[in-house]
């Protein structure tokens, strides 16, 4: 067992103890359910027959070596894979009991409900205000006061408000990398989604900014269901309650982060987290 990870887990558990086992009462409600869910890119397999239930209002991390399909699975949850040519899916994926790949699903509505933060921060080349207000605007909010309120709330949520409140109307591209990523999170929060998907949100950031993002995730888990893909096992251990390990498109193991990292059931998991491959 990787000693660094072990120490992280112990530290986190001690921090959590004062919250008690509050989380456990919610664990029963599984907001995302995958049943033998597969994604294919043409002839090659992205994700193969994954069956996994992701609980509400907790942080679930998906780990695995490069090319194991973790991003593919994440993007399947809000159907971002639709953009990719020759991509098709099989099996069932439910959100709140609704099969999201059935014909009558409104993708626009789905994506509004399932926000996403990308690996590389991608603010629009607009002002900070317009970036955050973009989502509410396309959903029909035109009232200036209402928009102001949403923008302020979202920026406060992401602890960005104090840094940018004096230059809301300057371009978002002038912000630093870490600020840009938090702005993207604020932008995703502004449409008030239930689920927040994060695709390696801190991989392009320096350690300081990474720490801030992780703090933010810890803060957000009270109100949102977060699914995070990460390369960094320490990060997964630090921020998540549940962890899924994917390897070559297949789900190898899924369980409480504490259990998975300290006492994995599968040999492959153990090999991966101890750094024997990947």
């Amino acid at each position: 067992m990787n000693i660094a990870i072990k120490s992280v887990i112990e530290k986190k558990e001690s921090l959590k103890s004062d919250l008690g086992n509050l989380n456990n009462s919610f664990i029963d409600y599984k907001i995302i359910k995958a049943e033998k869910f597969s994604v294919f890119y043409g002839d090659s397999i992205g994700v193969y027959e994954v069956t996994m239930d992701i609980p509400k209002n907790l942080v679930t991390a998906i780990i695995g070596p490069s090319g194991c399909g973790k991003s593919t699975f994440l993007r399947a949850i809000n159907r971002m894979n639709d953009l990719i040519l020759n991509c098709r899916s099989d099996g069932l994926l439910y959100i709140d009991g609704q099969s999201i790949y059935s014909r009558d699903v409104d993708v626009v509505n789905l994506r509004r409900n399932v926000g996403m933060v990308f690996q590389k921060s991608n603010p629009f080349p607009k002002s900070i205000f317009d970036n955050v207000a973009y989502g509410p605007r396309i959903h029909g909010i035109k009232n200036r006061g209402q928009l102001n309120e949403i923008v302020e709330r979202s920026l406060i949520r992401t602890a960005l408000w104090d840094e940018v409140k004096d230059r809301l109307h300057e371009s978002a591209l002038a912000l630093s990398g870490g600020q840009q990523q938090r702005l993207c999170i604020a932008r995703a929060l502004a449409v008030n989604p239930e689920i927040l998907l994060m695709d390696e949100p801190a991989s392009a950031l320096d350690p300081r900014s990474t720490a801030r993002i992780e703090d933010l995730i810890a803060e957000l888990r009270k109100d949102y269901t977060i699914v995070i893909v990460t390369h960094n096992m320490q990060q997964a251990a630090r921020v998540s309650d549940y962890t899924a390990f994917l390897y070559e498109g297949k789900l190898i193991e899924f369980g409480l982060t504490k259990d998975l990292f300290t006492n994995p059931n599968e040999q492959q998991t153990e090999d991966y987290i101890t750094g024997r491959f990947g």
Binding site: M80, R111, N122, L173
Partner: protein, 541 residues
């Protein structure tokens, strides 16, 4: 490779770069320099009194009193020339004398019959007057100087002269006296030669100074005024002073052009003096003054561009350019969006792409013929040439450029913008309109700038569809049905098909300069616009 050789190679490449940059700049100077300096001649030049008279008559501009004073002053200076010529004319053109004499004789006959005198007396006077009349006519018609002088003396010393005092016949004696003075100066045997040369001289003087005082008003404005520009005046003055003759004295060579002074032809006559007078007093006759004619842009042309400005052509170019953009921008951008964002990659789309590429390489005259055949003859957007048809033709011409540039611009927008937009619940169209297009705008603008320059300068497509050589400035609604002059076409037209190409060089260069400036101006505006958009997008201040 040795370090030394690599360094040398690097240096030679840098040198090559500098050299090519230098070459480019010098080419620009060589091309644009003459256009600029000759084109500026349409705006800043020395205008003569004729110019100010023309501007006052035709455009109603200028200080009336001052201009009349100037005209009077120059007329005074010209008087010597006009008087001299009209005197000389009388010796040569005797028709007017004969006519006047006949009139006087008729008058006298009437006067005689009204007198109450005895018949024999009357008959005597009648016979005498008839013989004097026929003698004078004979003298007028003769070219033999000696004979003429004899006859005239005979008339003047006639013993009966006293008897005609205070009758109409005294007028005839006046005429005889005047004619005898003229005969003294003029070589009557050369009358035909003088006549021919005098007509030519008068024509030359008319082009230099405008019509003679007693001439009827000419119909064409170009004949109503003399030379309006000092530089042209000097050329025309030379035409007055010299005749071009061919010298064939050396039979082994081709005939050489020789400037033969016109004064030699009129040697010994009074007309001889007007040439040196003209040369010495040219400034007070034409009163050159430097003018800044900025209204070249805003004046309508007169008498097919011989006078006035180029407003209709400038306006026409504007209409055509913006009309072309009006059609090509929306169409081009929509096509580009479709091709980049919505089209599936299949053979049909590939074919369309190839067609767009091919369209960009089609010669522009083909577009012109297409415009005529399709827009005018087939779908009848207008009954004949019109700005509308021309704009549509130009729009098709620039469409591939707009599509290509927009496609490139849209492709360079990071994919992540679209993903972010979609992940926030935007529809595809929404994402395109709110994120992709704004981010692609600078690139799209580049395509539009290029198209604008192209549309403004293209000649071939509008020959058949929109351009006429002479026309009035159009109102906006007239563009739907009327043809217009346009800079590009009129430059060609004035340089090749105008009846007085040499007279209007300044207009030709002025038009070229205007077109270059116009395109430059449009480009600068668009570049500034693009820079501002870019700044807003990137947010660096």
């Amino acid at each position: 490779m040795k370090l030394q050789t690599r360094k040398l190679l690097d240096k030679s490449f840098t040198g090559l770069n500098l050299f090519s940059a230098f070459l480019l700049i010098s080419a620009l100077i060589i091309v644009l320099g003459p256009i600029f300096f000759k084109g500026i001649g349409a705006f800043v030049f020395k205008g003569t009194v004729e110019y100010r008279r023309m501007i006052f008559d035709q455009f109603g501009r200028g200080n009336k009193e001052k201009i009349f004073k100037e005209i009077a002053y120059s007329q005074k200076a010209r008087k010597f020339i006009y008087d001299n010529i009209s005197d000389f004319e009388k010796g040569i053109i005797v028709k007017s004398y004969i006519k006047e004499t006949k009139k006087i004789y008729k008058e006298y006959k009437e006067y005689l019959s009204s007198l109450e005198l005895p018949n024999p007396h009357k008959n005597e006077l009648r016979r005498k007057s008839r013989s004097l009349y026929s003698l004078f006519i004979k003298a007028l018609e003769s070219t033999d100087k000696e004979k003429v002088e004899n006859i005239l003396n005979q008339i003047l010393s006639d013993p009966y002269r006293k008897r005609f005092d205070s009758t109409p016949m005294t007028k005839m004696f006046h005429l005889v006296t005047r004619y005898s003075e003229i005969v003294n100066q003029v070589d009557l045997s050369n009358r035909e030669v003088y006549l021919e040369n005098l007509i030519d001289l008068k024509d030359q003087l008319r082009t230099l100074l405008g019509p003679f005082p007693k001439d009827p008003k000419p119909i064409l404005p170009r004949n109503q005024y003399g030379q309006t520009r000092w530089d042209r005046s000097l050329v025309k003055l030379n035409d007055v002073l010299f005749i071009e003759k061919y010298d064939y004295s050396d039979s082994s060579e081709m005939g050489q052009i020789v400037q033969y002074p016109r004064s030699e032809i009129f040697k010994g006559t009074t007309v001889e003096h007007i040439f040196s007078y003209l040369e010495d007093n040219r400034e007070s006759i034409l009163l050159p003054k430097t003018v800044f004619y900025w209204r070249f842009f805003t004046d309508v042309p007169l008498d097919s561009n011989i006078f006035g400005g180029i407003k209709p052509a400038i306006l026409g170019t504007f209409y055509l350019t913006f009309g072309a953009l009006l059609f090509s921008i929306p169409l081009g951008i929509i096509a580009a969006i479709y091709l980049t964002e919505f089209a599936k990659e299949n053979w049909l789309i590939q074919l369309i792409r190839t067609c767009i590429g091919t369209l960009a390489g089609v010669p522009s005259i083909v577009f012109g013929l297409f415009g005529l055949a399709f827009f005018i003859n087939t779908i009848h957007v207008s009954s004949s040439k019109s700005v509308l048809a021309g704009s549509m033709t130009l729009a098709i011409l620039v469409l591939p450029t707009v599509i290509r540039a927009s496609e490139e611009a849209i492709r360079t927008v990071p994919h992540t913008y679209k993903e972010a937009s979609l992940s926030l619940g935007a529809s595809r169209w929404r994402a395109v309109l709110t994120v992709i297009l704004p981010a692609a705008l600078p690139g799209i603008l580049t395509g539009i700038i290029i198209s604008m320059g192209r549309a403004a300068g293209e000649t071939a497509p509008i020959i058949f569809t929109a351009a006429v050589s002479v026309g009035q400035p159009l109102k906006l609604w007239e563009t739907l049905s009327q043809a217009t002059p346009a800079l590009s076409w009129n430059i060609y037209n004035l340089c090749t098909e105008h009846e007085a190409v040499d007279e209007i060089r300044h207009v030709q260069y002025g038009m070229v300069l205007t077109l270059v400036l116009l395109v430059l101006l449009i480009n600068i505006i668009a570049i500034i616009l693009r820079a501002r958009i870019n700044k807003r997008l990137i947010g660096r201040t």
